[in-house]
Symmetry: C2
Subunit: 326 residues, 2 copies
């Protein structure tokens, strides 16, 4: 992979940034491509497919931005490692969900079976830590392993709560923090660890806010689709028994939804329930919450710790989270 | 967990060692027990079951022995981390194999399902790196992540080669090195990293030799059982399509075995094939190879880099590998 294959949604940020950011992101892309191909042709195909399905590279871009134009090799390694960890979780999540496609491409579990998908995920996860450790980055390993523990706990919480429509908003938000927001926070921390710079805690809060907003919108997109943009069928969460905020809110607004038993759903019925959720005010409420989070995030980086360019680019990233359709 | 719950096969080494070794191993056991209980009761049960099913603690003991009575907290952390990684691979292997029991106890995948088992394995793997990183041990992270990559590659090789009875001894041995020997080698390196000391490369070779012998014997035990000692049914490897050295050799000695199609087996037929393999000279040949490896390992530690006590204890560990029945 080369810099030219950076996914399109990121292009706007890259266009606005000084030359160093796209140049460094191209290095990260090349490094990810090299690693994907380092273990033979079959693994290469699986890793490459995961890499391409991984999307917008938000996490490595946040690492590089948090490191500003400093950070050198340490920041490159951290950006590479966080994307490897993200890829590992995608591969394992798809095992858990039995997902056939991700962003319109067949998942590793669909291509090669559960056994290989578990192994490929383990390889990517191990490689993430190797990537940091080979650069002698002890503090970064502590940060990423802590985020990786949180991710696993988030996934496990999601499994424990599966099919339980009585879970509270608080519990849902806690799970999203573990499963998603923590890694966005980590991206910010990793960049600052590589390069120093003021405002680490502010930037970490920024990451957490946009990560949470990202997950909220993701959960809206599962209800709204459209599948040709999201790359997966509507109602996938419902079929997996994953109770998200749109359903939690909609159940309060529509007594018929309150009676739904998630274990009994098929694809058609799941889409019907999506339509019913969409007919309530729930999706707007969740979108509003996500937008409020994005506004809080932008407020955080208004502090004098951040340069005008940083503020501009980080705001674009934040806006990108709520504007996305896939 | 306390020191008193150290599994019996290790007792002989502990009895022979100076007081520091059992004392430090008890600290590792306590630490593992703490970590197992750190994430709530359900995860605690699963982690505890895995911890108890994990067996003889050969890897952490090797770490502590390689660190001698030096190494302090770094060695404790490395010993804890390597057992966490080992536990993670057991949990994920059981997902791959769909194994119902391990050492006579229900596996996480059997207790709690595939989804949770993937998550529990990810959690243990992440926690292993967190354990090292929290101690600021960059070199140890590099070592363990490299071993963890090898383990994943070994598992993936095993999957790629599944049901392929034409695989060569060389390919089988390469897989065993990745899957098993590398982590024994790593245990030795981790201990020396924590405490320094001469003979690191010799000790690493010792670890590799006994690790390989361990795997060879493991593959013999899958054929011979008995299930009440190994904690699993005979012929499990055959049913998984895992072609091991006993079968590779026996196929050359018995034309009827050469014709066996592993995909068609059921439990009864797998046991019949085990009996046929046992009727050839294959098992003795594999056992001889394992013993030769153990002798090479003992030869390596005859060097003057090792004290008399080290030599005695390491030899006991090496002998323990070939004497085990479970």
């Amino acid at each position: 992979m080369t810099g030219s294959s950076v996914p399109p949604p990121v292009t706007a940020v890259m266009d606005a940034a000084s030359a160093w950011l796209p140049a460094r992101m191209a290095v990260v892309e090349d490094r990810l491509g090299e690693l994907a191909g380092a273990y033979g042709p079959r693994l290469g195909e699986e890793a490459e497919a995961t890499l391409r399905a991984g999307g917008k590279r938000l996490r490595p871009i946040l690492v590089l931005m948090a490191a500003r134009d400093g950070g050198g090799e340490r920041a490159i390694r951290a950006a590479t490692a966080i994307e490897l960890l993200h890829m590992a979780t995608l591969v394992h999540d798809d095992v858990l969900d039995g997902a056939p496609v991700r962003r319109g491409r067949p998942t590793v579990v669909a291509r090669s079976g559960r056994e290989r998908a578990v192994g490929v995920g383990d390889l990517l996860l191990s490689r993430a830590f190797a990537e940091l450790a080979d650069g002698g980055a002890g503090a970064e390993v502590a940060e990423l392993s802590s985020a990786s523990v949180a991710l696993a706990l988030g996934e496990l919480a999601q499994r424990s709560d599966a099919y339980d429509t009585s879970i509270t908003e608080e519990r849902y938000l806690k799970r999203c923090t573990l499963k998603t927001a923590r890694l966005f926070e980590s991206a910010c921390r990793l960049g600052r660890l590589a390069a120093g710079g003021p405002g680490t805690e502010n930037l970490a809060s920024f990451g957490r806010e946009i990560g949470l907003a990202f997950q909220l919108l993701d959960d809206v997109l599962d209800v709204t689709g459209p599948p040709e943009r999201t790359g997966k069928a509507r109602g996938t969460d419902l079929l997996d028994g994953t109770v998200t905020l749109p359903l939690i809110i909609a159940r309060r607004l529509d007594p018929e939804l309150e009676a739904v038993e998630l274990r009994d759903l098929d694809q058609d019925r799941a889409e019907e329930i999506c339509d019913r959720i969409a007919a309530t005010a729930a999706l707007d409420q969740v979108r509003d919450r996500a937008r409020e989070g994005i506004e809080r995030a932008k407020g955080i980086i208004a502090s004098e710790d951040f340069s005008d360019e940083e503020r501009q680019l980080l705001s674009m990233i934040a806006d990108g989270v709520v504007e996305r359709y896939s």
